[in-house]
Symmetry: C2
Subunit: 208 residues, 2 copies
Amino acid sequence: MRQEAQKARRKEIEQAALALLVQHGYAATTMASVAKAVGASLETLYKWYGDKPGLFRAMVQANIEELRDGLLMSAATFRDPIAALQEFGPRLIAVLTSEEVVALNRAAAADPSGDLGRIIAETGRGSIAPQLTGLFDRAMESDDPAQITEIYLGLLLGDLQIRRVIGRMPPPDATEIRQRSDRALELLCRLFPACPSKLPSEISVAFA
Amino acid sequence: MRQEAQKARRKEIEQAALALLVQHGYAATTMASVAKAVGASLETLYKWYGDKPGLFRAMVQANIEELRDGLLMSAATFRDPIAALQEFGPRLIAVLTSEEVVALNRAAAADPSGDLGRIIAETGRGSIAPQLTGLFDRAMESDDPAQITEIYLGLLLGDLQIRRVIGRMPPPDATEIRQRSDRALELLCRLFPACPSKLPSEISVAFA
DNA sequence: GATAATCCGTAACTACAATTACTGATCCTG
DNA sequence: CAGGATCAGTAATTGTAGTTACGGATTATC
């Protein structure tokens, strides 16, 4: 099998494993079930990934990178920070509360090695937060843009993620996502007056 | 065994199970390990709790109630909402990021039935949030105190819990807890001007 | 005190998942 | 095209955890 073909095959395996993880949970996602789902043999899986933890590391890495890549803002959006956040906020909520990310977080919660959590945090938050910090650095001239990032994320997401992971919350719908993002942005601009006041009027009166 | 003695024995079992959960994680907390840790027989555990999920439901319920009870504010503290939050905020952070709650959340994340998550959410958040909402209702005369609760919790905790659960964060130390609570309170008071402005001067200048 | 119920310590049973091994089919390379 | 490497399908091995069963010790009740 050539490198290109193996790469595509690995991706197929890693995506199938995530689908199983989402559908059946961590405990029920076995090497045998992955092999069956993708029409591969156990011997191949063990040869390519070493062992089950190895498969899971690769699977989490590949999938979280892809989800992360769908989140990154292009440099062009930095020209209008408000518009950038208006677009980014809902996307971030949707991804972080998605069934896929919830399943990945659950796998990390169950992983005694800590590897999965490390991969998720470094690849996910570790990429998104600096980007937000960069945006706030430009938009707000604050001496602590990283702190603004924490505040924004707190306002935007609150404890959604833990509630999703412990199974006490369905994914938020599009309306709720929109409202949540708008509220977070509105509150952020009230807290940091240097924020460009280019909010649509419908948002500026959302809070008494 | 009399009712009183059995009640005490059950509590001993449920506490020992939590200690094992904290120390070894969900996967390694077996019926056999619980029995051994507390000097009970498997037959007794199965007779009293039915099965492993039953033991876990009881264990989570008993322990989360105890943790919750240590968090509730007395009615007397409502007289001074700021002081109440200054005292409550750090306590809430400390408890929610503790090894015990992290272990319980991890068990819930691994539980396909959803029962553990339900118990945790209803007993924990379900008790704390209404209390906060009541406090904000008095302190702020807002038309939506429940929304203020969400905002406060977002500012106070952000994504600490999920980061603890996936293993990417140690428990915050006392200084960090204090700073986090003070910041959340300061930001909340800036957002909602009806908030009594009785902050100590050291806090009011904490943000430029 | 005698008897029944309960609990402890331990063995046994069953199912299942991780991993390795094997054979034959398929693919790749020279 | 031939030979070697790789992969699929499947069986086998091993260890472990959930659960049940059993005999003896302890406790509770009459």
